[in-house]
């Protein structure tokens, strides 16, 4: 069921300790900062977080990590010039890291939403990121078996929602939003604008409302 919610605090209130939470965004583009801040305020802990990075600077996901609320990160690029909170936790052995090539991350998230039980991909074959994984040669190419990444909750940012929960995004802020919305049991979208049913062109919907559970407008 779709709900329009007044505040980000109410939107994330149901997130339980121990949840797997997908967070959209690549760099700042598409990051649902307000929802992440609300998650920080809400107190849920022991989280597994799926995001392309592992937090930057002193905001958002980086603070969630600093506060010890993230048990495990699943990401492709945790090391950045300003990822000091992750660095500290990692070196202290206080956070687990599952490092995933970015395309495998995207495809594994997509597989979860699409009901795929697992797939073979050439990405990573012959590298240390394939160690311990099933491999096979298909049409002459070495391939690695990868499994879907499901989540309890997805926090994403979109440009507009209509009254049916259909979403459209803006430029490269689209990134992980559509696939995370489909992979999570419960998807919470923060949007800049809510338009009436019929206010978005059916040809141009990027995320159909079937994938969206909660919508909150963020000014």
């Amino acid at each position: 069921m779709l709900n329009f919610i007044d505040t980000v605090g109410e939107a994330v209130a149901g997130i339980q300790d121990g949840s797997t939470v997908m967070i959209g965004g690549f760099g700042n583009a598409g990051q649902p900062f307000e929802l992440i801040d609300a998650l920080l305020d809400g107190g849920a802990t022991d989280l597994t977080v799926v995001n392309n990075n592992a937090g930057q600077g002193d905001q958002g996901l980086a603070l969630l990590i600093k506060e010890g609320r993230v048990r495990k990160m699943i990401c492709s690029f945790p090391r950045q010039s300003d990822s000091w909170h992750f660095d500290a936790k990692y070196h202290a052995g206080e956070i687990e890291l599952e490092l995933v090539p970015q395309g495998n991350l995207a495809e594994r998230i997509r597989a979860a939403g699409a009901g795929i039980g697992g797939f073979f991909t050439p990405t990573g074959y012959g590298t240390m990121l394939a160690e311990g994984k099933e491999t096979r040669i298909i049409d002459g190419r070495g391939q690695v078996f990868e499994t879907p990444i499901h989540a309890d909750v997805a926090l994403i940012k979109a440009l507009k929602a209509d009254g049916k929960g259909n979403l459209v995004y803006r430029k490269t802020a689209r990134n992980f939003g559509p696939i995370m919305a489909a992979a999570a049991k419960h998807t919470i979208a923060q949007v800049s604008e809510i338009v009436p049913i019929g206010g978005l062109d059916p040809e141009n919907i990027v995320t159909p409302g079937i994938y969206v559970n909660s919508i909150v407008k963020v000014a």
Binding site: F77, Q102, E107, G126, N175
Partner: protein
């Protein structure tokens, strides 16, 4: 092996980063779809001409990426894989991450240009992880580009700061991809890599004999092998 160095030397001096980027740009066939990774290879975009009609892909969900955004053009929703603000060219398109990596992984990009720590004689690539104890590994889209693009070009200095060749018999750093690199552009030479070994296409400020002194694997001259 016959080393016909004179016919290969095209410049008197080693190439700087910009000259190297200009050379890579010149070698990209008109109409190609290209991904320039992050860091040094993105310099190539400065030397692509309008006549070449190259379409740039960025892994974070766009085809038709334009130059770096300046001043009022800067838009936090429009960035490249290195998280630098960029612009949009006419005819661009946006798509989500799975669709973007499907372009990379499905073999649709003609060329990607990547930096490297090491490249092996058979085109193995190492560019994501030093393997140093305590180093936090970060891979991003490098493995997807390495395994997905039709041609993988590497841009790097030939030697490390310590004077060791980055073109090696076997990579000692953790691999990004196996047998994927087809060309290596360095300050001292352009190399073609593949199952049949390493061919030197041209040298810059050195003879083939001098180059062979620096690189610990047998080099073949393009003139000699008829490439």
């Amino acid at each position: 092996m016959s080393l016909q160095s004179t016919s290969l030397q095209t410049r008197d001096m080693p190439l700087g980063r910009d000259d190297l980027a200009r050379l890579v740009a010149r070698d990209i066939a008109p109409g190609s779809f290209v991904n320039l990774g992050i860091g040094q290879p993105t310099l190539v975009s400065n030397y692509l001409t309008e006549e070449q009609n190259i379409t740039l892909h960025t892994e974070n969900g766009m085809l038709g990426m334009g130059p770096e955004a300046k001043g009022d053009e800067i838009d936090e929703d429009l960035i490249n894989a290195g998280k630098i603000p960029v612009t949009e060219l006419p005819g661009a398109s946006y798509f989500h991450h799975a669709d973007s990596f499907a372009i990379m992984r499905g073999g649709h990009l003609d060329i990607c240009v990547l930096g490297a720590f090491q490249v092996s004689a058979t085109g193995d690539l190492a560019n994501w992880h030093t393997g140093a104890p305590g180093a936090i590994p970060a891979v991003g889209g490098a493995m997807d580009l390495a395994s997905g693009a039709k041609d993988v070009f590497v841009m790097m200095t030939l030697l490390t700061r310590d004077g060791a060749s980055k073109l090696v018999e076997h990579c000692t750093y953790p691999l990004t991809g196996v047998g994927c690199v087809t060309r290596v552009y360095t300050d001292k030479a352009v190399f073609l890599t593949g199952p049949d070994g390493v061919i030197v296409r041209e040298t810059f400020g050195c003879t083939l004999e001098e180059l062979q002194e620096l690189v610990p694997l047998p080099l073949q001259s393009a003139a000699a092998v008829g490439v």
